[in-house]
């Protein structure tokens, strides 16, 4: 299946004008599959961490959202142990006007603004609500342990 022009354009732009703190590099043998890294936002428990993700553009992209998953272990109420992300724009609020870069920015923003009220990782969310300081400390520890630059 030929690669749609949009994917080529997005890839070119990601390379030419990379978003600070975010990189997305397509695999040579599969240009729909990207190796992604996102830097933890400053003033978040993920600061100083670099998180690896995988991103896949399905056949009907951009009519359906990219599939994105964290590969680096992360302690976050909206990211589960398999790295699946609970984010509206990756699901029901996807729009074809969004792009890889905007999605990755949204994920970076999610790191800066965890939402324990709509959890994916229930245990993490519970702790986040009950003892936020402890949860944030765990997130920091995990960042140091798993996402060290």
């Amino acid at each position: 299946m030929a690669l749609p022009k949009r994917i080529i354009k997005e890839t070119e732009r990601l390379m030419a004008e990379p978003v600070p703190g975010i990189s997305a590099v397509p695999h040579e043998d599969n240009l729909r599959y990207f190796d992604v890294t996102i830097d933890g936002p400053s003033q978040s428990p993920y600061e100083q961490g670099t998180f690896k993700l995988e991103l896949f553009l399905p056949d009907d992209y951009p009519m359906t959202p990219p599939k994105v998953r964290f590969l680096t272990k992360i302690y976050h109420p909206n990211i589960d142990k398999l790295g699946r992300i609970c984010l509206d724009v990756l699901k029901s609020n996807w729009s074809p006007a969004l792009q890889i870069r905007t999605i990755l920015l949204s994920i970076q923003a999610l790191l800066g603004a965890p939402n324990p009220d709509d959890p994916l990782a229930n245990d993490v969310a519970k702790r986040w609500k009950e003892d936020q300081n402890a949860a944030i400390q765990t997130a920091r520890d995990w960042t140091t342990q798993y996402a060290k630059k």
């Binding site: 509206d88 699901k91 729009s95 074809p96 920015l105």
Partner: protein, 443 residues
Amino acid sequence: MSSSQQISIVCHECEHEWQRRGNTPGSLRCPECASEFVEIVSIRPRHEAEAASSRQVTRRPTLEPGETSPLNQYASGANQALSPYRPPSRQHQEAPDPGEMDISAFNIANRAQGRTGTLMSFTIGGGTFGGSTNFTAMPSGRQDHQPFASFGQSGQRVAADSYEHGYEQEAEFRHNQGGIFGFHPPRPNWEPQEQPQRSANQQPNPQPFADPFQNLFMHIMGGNARTAPQTDPNNSVNGLLQIMSQLLAGSDNLRDMAVNDEDLDDIITHLMEAESHGPPPASSEDIESLPKKALDETMLNEDGKAQCTICMDDVAVGEEVKYLYCNHWFHEICIGHWLQAHDTCPHCRMSLKESREKYLASKTTAAGPGTPNVIPPTPDLDQGRSQPRRHSTPTRPSSSRRQSHSHSRNRPAPEGNNRFSAANFRNLLGLNNNSTGSREQRN
């Protein structure tokens, strides 16, 4: 797993089966026919293997606790394209080989290659034969056999193995499977193919609860299940299977049945994706009735270009594009594709109906119908959404939207970015007046 294992391998080409100790690296190749179409059918720690072989004296009239269920082998082969069932000829090649009795444990390593395929066939089989639910996923050849009985046994076997190997979480899950489908086989006919040995198998199982794992399942199944099978195992099992098949009846895809954590996770992922497919499609009538307009200079961005945000292709001046009432435009084919899936503007998320009503309202309140001097509709991002967004991240609406809009000056930015000129809009209105007029009549 270390070298203290015995691995049983079967060749699917010549049905040769052999054992080897340990995890010797290297390719798996049949020593008989050199085929690589081989499969590891079981791995078990050596001490168990030895224990099992020492207590095996005769050839399996009934299935002993430590004995192999060939269904395990079939199961492991189920993910392969070929029939997962052992060809009949295999039976006769199986000389009474003490080593063969060592094949017992379900192959944990095997899950990596065929994790979904392995137990799935059991599940399907149980559903089919116990509850008369017709599943297409069923390998057709199977119906000649008695997989129901085998099924029960293998469910138990797999769960038992999980238990043995301390895979607690998986074991728990599989115990469910085993408990539901196979806690007590009516008859341990573990040979799915009609064979001469069948007669030996047809004697009733003299020790219904000989296997500790069966007892475990009894326990899991609760009191009713514990007593019922003693008198009439078929009824009890059928009852359970009926329940299961009722549960399964609504499932289009039997692969939804999970057998381990990974499968379960896959299913959850799938459900998460399916959970939120976004807004429903727009009617084709509404899509058709959207106005079209040729791109003009006023619609170009700072760089003197215009781009359809869906395909990201440049649009030349004079090229016809489709307008939504929120004033966002796209290639007809691009926006058509999207609206057929979801009735929202890709930019402001307003539905066609919403934006049309808004547009008409603004038109009448501001200047009355037919007057070109109307206030441009200023779509409110939040009104475009009837449902609260999940994890609305603070930066997304601004930053991401800015990103996607940065190239198109002509598009009125929904968050109050006042780039949209009155002249531009008037231009557009000349065209919209006609089409909305006809729409008003229709309403």
